[in-house]
C-alpha cells in the first residue's frame, strides 16, 4: 500500500530529527586549536545542509522503495504466483570470467605507456591473490580468519630478509617464503581446532596484531617502524631491468631501448601468472577430496566428524594453503615495492581482504575478482576528493552488504550435489 504524502513527510521529518541530533556534535560544533588551547567553532549552515539533505534523501528513498514494492506486487499478481523467478545465470559468470581473463592479458598492450593504469591493475591482482587465499579459509572451509594480513606480512618480510641479508633472488625466495608462511598458517590453525566462529575470529585478529607489533618493535631484524628498504626487484631470469651498464640487462639482451616501463609490465605479468596459477590450483583442489572436505566442514562440522573425516587435517590444510597464498602475495608485494614496513600490514588490511571475500560472495572465485576491482578502484576514483574516499569506502561496504547480502556473486552452493540437474560437476 503506497504511503500517503503526510506519512512520507512524517517519516522524512523523523529521519531529519535524528540527523539533527547526530549532526550537532559532529557537524554543528567543532574544536580548533588556537594557541595551544581549544576553542569551539560552530558550523550551523553546514548542519542545516546536512539535515535538509537527509530529509530529501529519506523522502526519495521511501518513494523509490514504495514504487519498487508496488511494481513487485503487481508483477507477482500478474504471473499468478507460480513462475518467474529468473533462473540464476549459471553460464554468465563463466563467460565473464573468460572476458576478464582476456582483458587482463591484453591490458598492458593497450596501456603500455600508462604507468598508472598498470600499477593499479597490479594492485588489483595482489588483492585478487590475497582474496583467493583467504577464500580458501573463509569461503570454502568456513573458518573466520580476521588476521590474513599476518601471512601477507610473513611472506613480505621473509623475502625482504632473505634477499637483503642473504642475497637470495626473487624466484629462489618465493617457495621458501611460501613455506615459512605455511608454518605460520599451521601455528594459527592449531589453536583454531578447538575454537568456533567468533572466538576464532578474535584469535586470528590477535595473531595478526601480534605479528605486526613484533615487526614494529623487533628493530634488530625487521627494521622496526622504518621497515626494510632497498629490497631487490625481481629480474627477468637473471637479466636485471636496469639502464644499460656493464652487466647484460633485459633491454640490452633483447635489443630494446631501455625503458622503466619494462619492469612494471614484467611485474604485472608475474602477478597475473601467480594469480592464474592460484586460481587453477584452487579450482583443482575443490574437486579433490580435500576440497570437498573443506566445503563439507563449512556446511556441517559434526556430520563430518560423524563420517570419520579427520577435521584436524581439514582445518590445518585450509589454513596452510590460505597462508601460502597470502605469503606468495606478500613476496610479490615486497619485490614490487622495494620497501616494506609494518604500516602495510595493519588490521585495516585484513579487514579489506575479508571484505573482498565476503563482498565477492563467499566461495566464488570470480566474485573475489569483482570485489577486488570494486574495492581498489573505488578509492582510486575517489582520489580527486581524497579526503572523502575512506568515508565513501566505509559507506560502500555497508551499502553493498544491504543490497546484496550474499555478495556481488552469491554462490554459496556446494560444488558437488546429489542428482545434479546441470552437469557442472
Amino acid at each position: 500500500m503506497p504511503a500517503t504524502l503526510a506519512e512520507r513527510g512524517r517519516d522524512a521529518a523523523a529521519a531529519a530529527a535524528i540527523a539533527l541530533l547526530l549532526g550537532i556534535p559532529m557537524i554543528g560544533l567543532t574544536t580548533v586549536d588556537q594557541g595551544g588551547a581549544l576553542r569551539v567553532q560552530t558550523r550551523w549552515p553546514w548542519l542545516a545542509v546536512f539535515v535538509i539533505a537527509v530529509f530529501c534523501g529519506r523522502w526519495l528513498l521511501r518513494y523509490g522503495l514504495d514504487r519498487l514494492r508496488t511494481r513487485r506486487t503487481r508483477a507477482r499478481s500478474d504471473s499468478t504466483g507460480t513462475a518467474a523467478r529468473p533462473a540464476p545465470g549459471g553460464r554468465l559468470p563463466g563467460a565473464l570470467a573468460w572476458l576478464t581473463f582476456g582483458i587482463s592479458l591484453a591490458l598492458p598492450l593497450v596501456f603500455s605507456d600508462n604507468r598508472y593504469v598498470i600499477d593499479t591493475a597490479t594492485t588489483v591482482l595482489i588483492y585478487v591473490m590475497l582474496g583467493w587465499g583467504l577464500n580458501v579459509v573463509v569461503g570454502l572451509a568456513g573458518l573466520l580468519d580476521m588476521g590474513h594480513a599476518a601471512f601477507y606480512a610473513v611472506g613480505a618480510y621473509a623475502y625482504a630478509l632473505l634477499s637483503t641479508r642473504f642475497g637470495w633472488g626473487f624466484w629462489e625466495a618465493l617457495p621458501v617464503a611460501a613455506l615459512i608462511a605455511a608454518v605460520f598458517g599451521l601455528a594459527v590453525g592449531w589453536p583454531s581446532l578447538r575454537l568456533r566462529g567468533d572466538y576464532l575470529a578474535i584469535v586470528t585478529l590477535g595473531f595478526g596484531e601480534i605479528i605486526r607489533v613484533v615487526l614494529l618493535n623487533g628493530a634488530e631484524f625487521s627494521g622496526g617502524p622504518n621497515g626494510i628498504s632497498q629490497i631487490p626487484r625481481p629480474s627477468f631470469f637473471g637479466l636485471p631491468f636496469a639502464p644499460p651498464g656493464e652487466a647484460p640487462t633485459f633491454a640490452a639482451f633483447f635489443g630494446l631501448e631501455f625503458s622503466p616501463m619494462h619492469r612494471i609490465l614484467f611485474l604485472y605479468y608475474v602477478i597475473l601468472m601467480l594469480a592464474l596459477l592460484t586460481n587453477a590450483l584452487v579450482l583443482r583442489l575443490r574437486r579433490l577430496p580435500i576440497g570437498r572436505a573443506w566445503e563439507a566442514m563449512r556446511e556441517d562440522e559434526i556430520a563430518c566428524r560423524a563420517l570419520g573425516m579427520n577435521v584436524t587435517h581439514i582445518k590445518l590444510s585450509a589454513f596452510a594453503l590460505g597462508a601460502v597464498l597470502g605469503g606468495v602475495a606478500g613476496v610479490f608485494f615486497a619485490a614490487r615495492q622495494g620497501f616494506i614496513s609494518p604500516e602495510s600490514f595493519t588490521f585495516n588490511e585484513s579487514a579489506i581482504i575479508l571484505a573482498i571475500v565476503v563482498l565477492g560472495g563467499m566461495g566464488s572465485q570470480f566474485g573475489v575478482v569483482l570485489a577486488s576491482l570494486v574495492l581498489v578502484l573505488l578509492p582510486e576514483i575517489g582520489r580527486d576528493f581524497a579526503e572523502y574516499r575512506m568515508l565513501l569506502f566505509g559507506a560502500a561496504m555497508i551499502l553493498i552488504m544491504i543490497w546484496r547480502p550474499g555478495g556481488i556473486l552469491a554462490q554459496r552452493e556446494p560444488t558437488l550435489r546429489l542428482a545434479a540437474k546441470d552437469r557442472r560437476v
Binding site: 556534535p25 559532529m26 575470529a201 561496504m397
Partner: protein, 304 residues
Amino acid sequence: MALALQQLINGLTLGAVYGLIAIGYTMVYGIIGMINFAHGDIYMVSAFIAVTGFTLLAAFGVHSVALALFVVLALAVLFTSVYGWAVERVAYRPLRGSARLVPLISSIGMSIFLQNLVQLTQGARVKPIPPMITGGVDLLTVDGFTARLSYSQILIVLVTVALLAAFTWLIQRTSFGRRQRACEQDRTMTALLGIDVDRTISLTFMLGAALAAVAGVLVTMYYGVIDFYIGFVAGIKAFTAAVLGGIGSLPGAMLGGLIIGLIEAFWSNYLSAEYKDVATFSILILVLLFRPSGLLGRPEVEKV
C-alpha cells in the same frame, strides 16, 4: 611494593574503562550474535563530544568541575546513544536474518565510516584539554617511590561501580531487562509473545553506546588527549576483554576488562611497554585454548 600497588591502581582504572566498553560488545553479541566492530568508534565519538562539551562549558565560564562533568556526561550519553541507535538502524537492521558474516562486514564498514567522519569533521590532530581534576592521595612510599591514588582514578572507579549497579538492576529487575534477556534466549519466541524485538535490540544498542559514552568521557578527563584513532585500539581491547570473560556474559565482560587492564599495567611496567599488546593477545589465546568459551561463558552445546 609501592610500584606494584601503583600498577594495581592503574590497571584497575584502565580495566574499568575496558569493562564499560566490553559490556556493549557482549550485550550486542548476546542479543543478535554479531561482533559490533563499530562499538569502539562509538566510544571515540563520545570522547570527541566530551572535548567539545568541556571546551564549550569553559567558554561559557562554568568553572565547577562537578557541574561540568555532570553536564558533559549527560550530553555525551544522550548524543552517543543516538549514534548507537543510528548505527544499528542503518547498518544492521536491514541485514537481520542474513548470513553471520554479513553484519560483521557491515560493522567493519561502519567503523571505517565513523573514523573518517570524525577525522573529516573534527580534524585529524590530537585534541588536548587542560587537566580538570588534579591531586590525589599518597598511599605508600617504599624506597623513594610513592604509590598515588589520584582523584580522577577514584572517580573512574566510583562511576564504574555505580553504573554497574544501575545496569545490573536494569537487566535483572526491570521489564526492559526481562525483554532484553528474553530476546537473547529466543528471538522468535519473544516476538510471538508480542514483544517488539526490533525495539529491544535498538534499546540494547543505545544502552551499550551509553556505557561506552561514559567510558569516553572518563578517558578524556583522565588522559586529557584524544584523537580519531583511539576507538580502534580500545575497541579491540574491549572486545578481547569480552571474549576473555566469555562473550554474552555481563560479569564476564567486566572481569575480562579488569584482567586486561591489569595485564597491561603490570606488563608494561615490569617487562616491556612495546609488547603489552602482544601479552594481551597471547594471554587471550592461551585462555581460549584451555577454556574455549571464556572464563565465565557457558559452553555452547551443539545440537545436531
